[in-house]
Symmetry: C2
Subunit: 349 residues, 2 copies
Amino acid sequence: MTSQKLTGVRDGRYTIREIAAFAGVSTATVSRVVNSSGYVSPETRRTVERVVREYGYSANRSARGLSAGRTGLVGVTVPLIHPAYFSVIIAGVTEALYEQDMRIVLCPTLHEHDREVSLLERLMHGTTDCALLVLPEESSSELRTLMQHGFRFVVVDPRMRIDERVPTVSAAHSAGANQATTHLLELGHRRIAVITGPEGWMATDERLRGHRAALASAGALPNGALVVESNFEVEGGRAAAAQLLDLAEPPTAIFAFNDQLAIGAMQAALERGMRVPEELSIVGFDDTAEAQIVTPRLTTVHQPLAEIGRMGVSLLTRLLENQRLEALHVELETKLVKRGSTAPPRVLA
Amino acid sequence: MTSQKLTGVRDGRYTIREIAAFAGVSTATVSRVVNSSGYVSPETRRTVERVVREYGYSANRSARGLSAGRTGLVGVTVPLIHPAYFSVIIAGVTEALYEQDMRIVLCPTLHEHDREVSLLERLMHGTTDCALLVLPEESSSELRTLMQHGFRFVVVDPRMRIDERVPTVSAAHSAGANQATTHLLELGHRRIAVITGPEGWMATDERLRGHRAALASAGALPNGALVVESNFEVEGGRAAAAQLLDLAEPPTAIFAFNDQLAIGAMQAALERGMRVPEELSIVGFDDTAEAQIVTPRLTTVHQPLAEIGRMGVSLLTRLLENQRLEALHVELETKLVKRGSTAPPRVLA
DNA sequence: AGACCGTATGTAAACGCTAACCTATCGTTT
DNA sequence: AAACGATAGGTTAGCGTTTACATACGGTCT
């Protein structure tokens, strides 16, 4: 018997009824102990805790989910899993959930919008208690509808500007972009190009805003020809940079709106035999692991991605506890990390 | 009413009883339809399916889990989430599971062994139906014990050599390493160093075996000084390469046992002003995204990581269906991808 | 002393689903 | 014509929890 208990493993795992019998109390009392709810005398509590430990009991999540309506499972939707950007956020989310004894149910949406919506609905009743939507495809009104129907979720890194009442976590896009552009200006650059993400995305719009503000406060003129839209991927960055470098008056610096684009830009420069940073400075955004392994290392705006994930969980747990979320929108600080891909422009005095 | 149905969202989602009532059948029939089990006439099936669609019904997973003993949830343990290596496997797993209408419950073990074990136990009753262990810390005997107690799991990329009866999926380490070394030999290299992973890991041992076989069949002599053990991380690769390059007779090529190590080796070479591949050829293993963004691009052994994940799921589903797993151990092919980090040695004629 | 409250614990009814068991109908075989 | 198997579909007992409700036992206050 002892050995069986000690392994903690048994074919049909112990039920609350068995534990109750072993401890000489009712199932309700065991439930109260393991959930720290209701009245239990210290003495009884100790006894039950001992038995629980001894037999390695933990509640069947399905049963709890059915009975109490909470499963301890949190759905996380994410467009893709493997890009560093997402996987770091997911890592942060998972760790934070783990600390709360909750588990993450991962749902890649693979850019299929329909799938995302129905998924969410499906997810939210009977499977998970709540959800974390990373860079969701849903429109603001769709999210509103879901909220009104009692779905509880937090949006991490909203793609579009969404309804005020939806809790969100994001990075300080504008401030980060401002720092990046200011850095380039301080180095002496005046022809600074940007490679943006898709138009309409918050990340694009906000970063553009920060960039323009930096230009303005330095008295530099914005130049439409130096702004090219892309898609946040390496290939896109390469193409955009190629286009920029072919300009009659090419830029001396490029601020790419994420690291992938920046890496693409580095490749484009390399292909034309230009040296980075001597002939072209490049700044990225995100500070994913890639930024540190390219040559030269990429100067980039650091986003606390894991922290963003953790913060999402934090909002979510408060949402579950029905606390009024005073801070419905959290914006986490970004920070410019200066590395080897930026330098003063060569042409300047 | 119509509008409510069409949104598919309702406060308290529909139960099987309601759907049964709407369709004018019993709950059993609805259950049979949605689970494709038992006898249902085509006509009845159609009716029920229509109602199900109309009201957006899908079974409450907790209830199903409790009643039928299967939750449709698969636990996946993984040491860490964000390294590209793992996140690509996870992506493969998640997609494959999605296609089976199953969901993935992610559990990072963070290298905490205790945590992994207890996690597994906890996971496997009441939460998930089965598990996929990626690079598990467990010893063979621990895994055996779990198996004997009815836990169902598949090991993906076993860390150590484990019990025969545990189903596993892995890459063809040995063959891949053989290809890598052969490639270097064919280029004319004779002093080929390797930077390995931790000793005792299957990945290390098998790759070493393949490497040695390649040397042997080319009649080259193995040289103990040219084998240095490391930890699969960039920093380790840099240190190991530094050590190798300081040798009286340094190698003309380095075969690093993963891309991280290879990148570290590239950095070490760069730091000493050595040019890759002119003065030093470098080969990696894994072919993660990083391999394509370093300069020069890394010649490396491609592992079909996403496919490895999918295959894990495939074994798992067969395990669940109680099919005898004829192929208990699947080894997926690896392939050398020649890129810019390898070239003939300079010193040779 | 009776009323009342706070504490402690037990009893049992859900929760939504599946599956075992039952009944009924309709060929088809003997 | 009886027997049987295949098909169709209803009834209902759990699955393991939680929690509302009931009960019981001191104290404390009036």
